[in-house]
Amino acid sequence: MNDHDAPIHEKNSHEFPIHETLGDSLAQQGISRRAFLKFCTAMASLMALPPGTATAIAEALVKAKRPSVIWLSFQECTGCTESLTRSYSPTLENMIFNMISLDYHHTLQAASGYGAEKSREDAMKNFFGKYLLVVDGSIPMNNGGVYSTIAGRTNLDLLHEVAKGAAAIIAVGTCASFGGIPNAKPNPTGAVAVSDIIKDKPIINISGCPPIPAVITGVLAHYLTFGGLPELDDLGRPKSFYGETIHDRCYRRPFYDQGKFAKTFDDEGARNGWCLFELGCKGPVTHNACATTKWNGGTSFPIESGHGCLGCSEPHFWDAGSFYSALSMPASPLKYVAGAAVAGAAAGVAVSIGNRIKKGTAKSAHQKATIEDLEK
């Protein structure tokens, strides 16, 4: 399939110093210490770390050797890379590329053909066991994985090979995290997530279609600072970003609590900015940071623009029914819940009446206190 022995670009671009520290790299780029500290503080707060950590992050990052990163793109749409490169926030994404030595990335690298593949192989050899592997896109399994190949090799093959020497794998986007749209029914290519194939490496899922740029920066900063991955939820996502639902942090939540819902996209409720639950918003079951971190340099997020959440950071979001039908409630458990709620409320009322009577009795038993009452 491949002829990697071809003597092209034998001593190629890897002459440039990839062992330099991040501090050197930043200094070369003319990034001031102030801007850098600002970045570290933003990172610390994004990751819900104590404020003092910002300095720790700064110290660790400045000294950190920029780790080699190999980025593999499989069955994907390049939306994740688009998201990462289109950020307006304080040069966060520029910084990513200063923090790491990105040795292989289809979309962003200048080299092509054998040169490109060689650069990947060199990185794998030189930093075996130390490089980070970033994957976006799902991996097709049907028919030997022929549905997506790079340089004539299947994604499956490439993933196995590169994963072997990786320190950790970051699955960027819902496709790499959970299979995503390629995995949607009927899933003709047999697309699966990275975690379905690789079992012996730490994998962190940064889901979302696409994911929020700051999340990947945050995870990288965490990795460089603490030398490990942040705390993950049951789906392998960093808790600091995916710990709460969109609904929990939605600015329209008060309307939900008051039962004020938009019924169509142009009714009065919609114009008043009421809750989009009945229009199919998946915010209540979607764990992501959109409602707080927001998009496009903090401009807004989908609900703020008047559209319900699609739930893109959750597994199988594409198959979870129409984007425009309201979240359904399970029928029979609901009856039990309703029954229990009624019983609970009745008990509450009974206790409350009892308490009121008790307080009332105490009140009516009150004898006016005088100074004689104070001496025992």
Partner: protein, 420 residues
């Protein structure tokens, strides 16, 4: 009729209301209130954690008003609150709580701990667990008219002294005056300069004012010991006096708890809104200042700092007024650390200064104020509460410090342009 446990518990049941229920159920046991309490910070003893001081009240709440608590009580799993327990808690509820409200301010879930201490004291007092000092003060307040036993003749003597000093007649029982001035016994006995200062300022401002022969005393021992019925009697005296003299405004003196009692608790105690306004003297003076009625000359040369009385700044929101006024007459005004609403208590509020057995602890707690003061390098300490003043003077005497303590009103009066 005598004090008894049954009556005390019944009063606690009566006192527990929706705020208290929500406070106890929302306490997250974080312990932040400990760091806010001077009795904890200065002794390091965890029993002085403010929320812990409320344990008997919490137990009554749990056993009487929560399902689990009631079941527990029925099954004998939790013992009812006993006399011995209340007696054990007496030093916590009285001696080591000045009701300064710093704990309420730092509570992350918004529990008003002082509100609960105030209510717990109701049950403590009625069950016979109030300190002797406060019982005595309350008795004198009800029977004689003042917690220190001051009677009208003592006030009249001070009026004569002021007349001799300043040549100004002090109006007594003048119907239709704009302001009715109250005093604390401490001011009548220990700090007579207050009355003279008021006379001078009122004269310059051109305001009509009066003292009232039946209601010259502003303090309220009922609030401190925690007996609403007694507090009501004391507030009612002032209301009756003000109504009889048909005054527009009643002025609470340089005293912290008197202001809380009269302005915030008073209308609830008497059960109806007042037909007059209640202002603290600092609010009145700052009002005069903005209207241009205060003309001063000269400055205090020595470095001044201001001690915010807890009931004024934290429970009452009087913060800017003393600063506005002091800046008129002070060249070198400095703030203490933790000034304003986070100021540390003098250690003698909430009736603590009247409890003899609490003196050693109070002096221990005074260390925080001592540190604050020393850091400023101030040569004079100004405050606006006669009780703070006497407590701070005692504390400084104990620690061999010599910084004079004065009131805002007298400091201002010293610099009035005479003859205008």
């Amino acid at each position: 009729m005598t004090a008894s446990l049954d009556k005390g518990i019944s009063v606690l049941k009566e006192m527990i209301d929706a705020p208290i229920a929500s406070y106890f159920s929302s306490c997250v046991h974080c312990g932040l209130c400990a760091e806010a309490c001077l009795f904890y910070t200065e002794t390091g003893d965890p029993k002085y954690t403010p929320i812990h001081k409320l344990e008997p009240l919490r137990r009554v709440y749990k056993q009487e008003y929560t399902l689990l608590g009631r079941i527990g009580k029925m099954l004998g799993l939790s013992k009812p609150v006993s006399d011995a327990e209340l007696e054990e808690w007496k030093p916590l509820v009285y001696d080591s709580c000045t009701m300064c409200g710093r704990c309420s301010l730092v509570c992350p879930v918004g529990n008003d701990i002082v509100y609960m201490v105030r209510k717990l004291r109701e049950g403590m007092a009625i069950s016979g667990h109030a300190p002797e000092g406060l019982i005595g003060a309350s008795t004198r307040a009800v029977e004689i008219g003042s917690p220190m036993g001051v009677k009208l003749p003592a006030v009249q003597a001070q009026m004569r002294h002021v007349k001799a000093d300043t040549g100004i007649d002090i109006p007594l029982d003048a119907v239709g005056a704009e302001y009715m001035v109250l005093m604390s016994s401490m001011e009548i006995i220990n700090f007579p300069e207050y009355l003279g200062a008021i006379a001078k300022i009122m004269k310059q401002a051109g305001k009509s004012w009066t003292l009232c022969s039946e209601a010259f005393e502003a303090t309220n021992s009922g609030i401190q010991i925690g007996v609403s019925d007694i507090a009501k009697v004391l507030v009612q005296r002032i209301v009756d006096g003000a109504e009889r003299l048909k005054v527009k405004t009643v002025i609470s003196p340089e005293c912290g708890h008197a202001y809380t009692a009269l302005r915030w608790e008073g209308p609830n105690l008497v059960g109806q809104p007042y037909p007059f306004e209640v202002l603290h003297i600092l609010e009145v003076l700052d009002g005069f200042r903005t209207q241009g009625l205060l003309k001063t000359q000269g400055f205090e040369e020595a470095r001044l700092t201001f001690h915010d009385p807890c009931q004024l700044v934290r429970r009452g929101g009087v913060f800017d007024q003393p600063r506005n006024l002091l800046k008129m007459v002070a060249k070198d005004f400095v703030e203490m650390d933790d000034t304003g609403k986070m100021n540390w208590c003098c250690g003698g509020g909430g009736g603590v200064s009247a409890i003899e057995e609490a003196v050693p602890l109070r002096l221990e707690a005074f260390k925080v104020k001592k540190t604050q003061l020393e850091k400023t390098g101030a040569k004079t300490l100004v405050t606006a509460c006669a009780n703070c003043r006497i407590v701070i003077e005692e504390g400084m005497e104990h620690y061999k410090m010599s910084i004079p303590v004065v009131g805002v009103t007298e400091t201002l009066a010293k610099h009035l342009v005479e003859g205008e």
